[in-house]
């Protein structure tokens, strides 16, 4: 008996998305293999979030062909927890059994939040809420995780911890991940493959083959960063070491 599942989690060909007469995504092709961690970099307004929204089935006004795994988990820049549900009920809100306390507990365990299961979302800190949101995506046991700048609103220290958590979770579950970000270091720390988006297309691709866990600061890392920054149109990499706006 062979594995009947397709070998890719995402297959996009000839995707175009227009807002009025402005073309945000222009005849884009993209393939994400199962278990592959892909980071999508780009300046603001380059269409990277639009692409993620299309893959998340939130935007259907498109031309072209989009095939995407039905078992998806999505986490946004803001946690978007339902404020009227306790944390654990939020976590299992997207699963078949919404009363499965055990499942909620194990998903919360994975993000180190099991002690907050009974809290209201309003009582969580920013980092905790973002982890709860991640747990909610994970509780669906997705083949594909779509992350839209999930660490963008966190403070620098919390962001580092959250990135390490995502790296760790991915090593354990090996679901395909598409991480939309504008943080070059984050992409280099987490991804197998980095796509740089520009003018509605994937303008550049960089494979990252370094061992995990990775650390910022070794010479290869710096070289890759300079290359990415050049692609992103930031001439002097030193002026914006970690973040592009």
């Amino acid at each position: 008996m062979g594995d009947t599942r397709s070998s890719v989690a995402v297959k996009v060909s000839g995707l175009t998305r227009r807002f009025g007469d402005r073309t945000v995504i222009d005849n884009l092709d993209l393939e994400i293999r199962r278990g592959e961690f892909v980071a999508l970099l780009g300046a603001s307004g380059c269409g990277k979030s639009t692409l993620l929204r299309i893959l998340a089935d939130l935007d259907h006004d498109i031309d072209g062909e989009v095939l995407v795994s039905p078992h998806r988990g999505v986490a946004f820049q803001s946690p978007r927890l339902f404020p009227w549900k306790k944390v654990w009920r939020n976590v299992v809100a997207g699963t078949a059994n919404r009363r499965d306390r055990a499942r909620a507990q194990s998903a919360l365990d994975e993000v180190g939040l099991s002690h907050r299961a009974n809290a209201w979302p309003k009582d969580l800190s920013g980092g905790e809420a973002q982890r709860a949101s991640l747990a909610r995506a994970l509780a669906r046991s997705p083949d594909l995780l779509l992350l839209d700048e999930p660490f963008g609103a966190l403070d620098a220290l919390t962001r580092l911890k959250a990135q390490a958590l995502v790296a760790d979770l991915w090593q354990r579950h090996r679901q395909a991940v598409l991480l939309v970000t504008h943080d070059v270091d984050e992409a280099l720390l987490l991804a197998d493959r980095i796509l740089v988006m520009d003018a509605g297309q994937v303008a550049h691709t960089m494979g990252v083959r370094r061992q995990r866990p990775r650390f910022a600061g070794d010479p290869a890392f710096d070289q890759s960063r300079l290359q990415l920054l050049k692609w992103l149109g930031v001439a002097d990499g030193a002026t914006s070491r970690s973040q592009l706006q």
């Binding site: 089935d57 999505v74 997207g94």
Partner: protein
């Protein structure tokens, strides 16, 4: 060059040693205090006003300044209460009034919230429902009484209809606004979690609209009593309003005032129920609760 280093000009300039007079005329003095000197318990503070009014009332009637048949003394009200209670008139009137209010309220609630859901959730529903509802909302429902009597007669139906009518609109308006105020981001999050339509309504839209709905509920309960008073005094066949009309005919001011007190108490307890509901149902909410 001197052997000892001289301090840099301007950076380490020594402060004048202990000036004789320090100018403090433009500073504010924080006066030390001991907090509040007398702490009055909350309950006593809140009841001071009403107790004072009751005392005035008692004094005005007991001293004879106000004649008994204009405003009876508090004690007269008490004996009127006992009289009505033992004769069973009060119990019967309360039962009738409460039944009317509850049935009317139930109909009005179902209609108001139901229509708000239709026009809140569906674009086509809004086009069909919202404009007529907003037009009818401006109609003063008290003016409907003559029409309701012609259409529905003089038994229970017109009274219940009037209450339902009064309840329906505040609930509709506030629930509709509540639905339209639900965070789009949460709707999207629910879509990515593949909520079906039922889950979308009961787990996202309605909880999100609940604060608005409860505001509507509060207004609706207020209107419900008002409508009941109208319906019962204009066209009375039993109930608190009938007691009042009857008392007017036999010139019993004590019974009229007693019934008004009971109306007030009923309205107050309805308000308390909504407050309690808000506390229980909205405990998830992050709002400013006063200092």
């Amino acid at each position: 060059m001197p052997a000892t280093s001289t301090p840099l000009e301007g950076r380490n300039r020594p402060l004048p040693a202990r000036p004789e007079i320090i100018e403090v005329t433009d500073l504010q003095r924080i006066v030390p205090g001991r907090g509040k000197s007398i702490v009055v318990p909350w309950g006593i503070r809140k009841s001071l006003g009403p107790v004072f009014l009751a005392f005035l009332w008692w004094y005005a009637t007991a001293s004879g300044a106000v004649p008994e048949d204009f405003l009876p003394a508090p004690s007269a009200l008490w004996s009127a209460l006992q009289e009505l209670y033992t004769s069973g008139d009060l119990g019967e009137a309360l039962r009738l009034s409460l039944t009317r209010a509850s049935i009317g309220f139930a109909f009005g609630f179902a209609t108001g919230v139901g229509l708000a859901l239709v026009s809140g959730l569906l674009r086509i529903g809004e086009d069909l429902v919202d404009a007529p509802m907003q037009m009818m909302r401006t109609l003063p429902w008290a003016g409907l009484v003559p029409l309701l009597i012609i259409w529905l007669g003089i038994d229970e139906t017109p009274k219940i209809t009037l209450v339902a009518f009064a309840v329906c609109f505040p609930l509709y308006v506030n629930t509709f606004a509540g639905i339209r105020n639900v965070d789009r981001n949460l709707i999207e999050a629910a879509k990515t979690l593949q909520f079906n339509r039922t889950a979308m309504v009961f787990e996202v839209v309605l909880p999100g609209a609940l604060p608005g709905l409860l505001v509507g509920l509060r207004y609706a309960l207020g209107s419900a009593w008002l409508a009941l008073v109208f319906a019962e005094t204009v066209n009375a066949q039993g109930g608190l309003g009938y007691l009042i009309t009857h008392a007017r005919e036999v010139y019993r001011v004590d019974i009229i005032i007693l019934c008004l007190f009971i109306y007030a108490l009923l309205g107050l307890s309805a308000d308390l129920i909504v407050r309690l509901l808000e506390k229980v149902l909205l405990s998830w909410r992050q709002g400013f609760e006063g200092e």
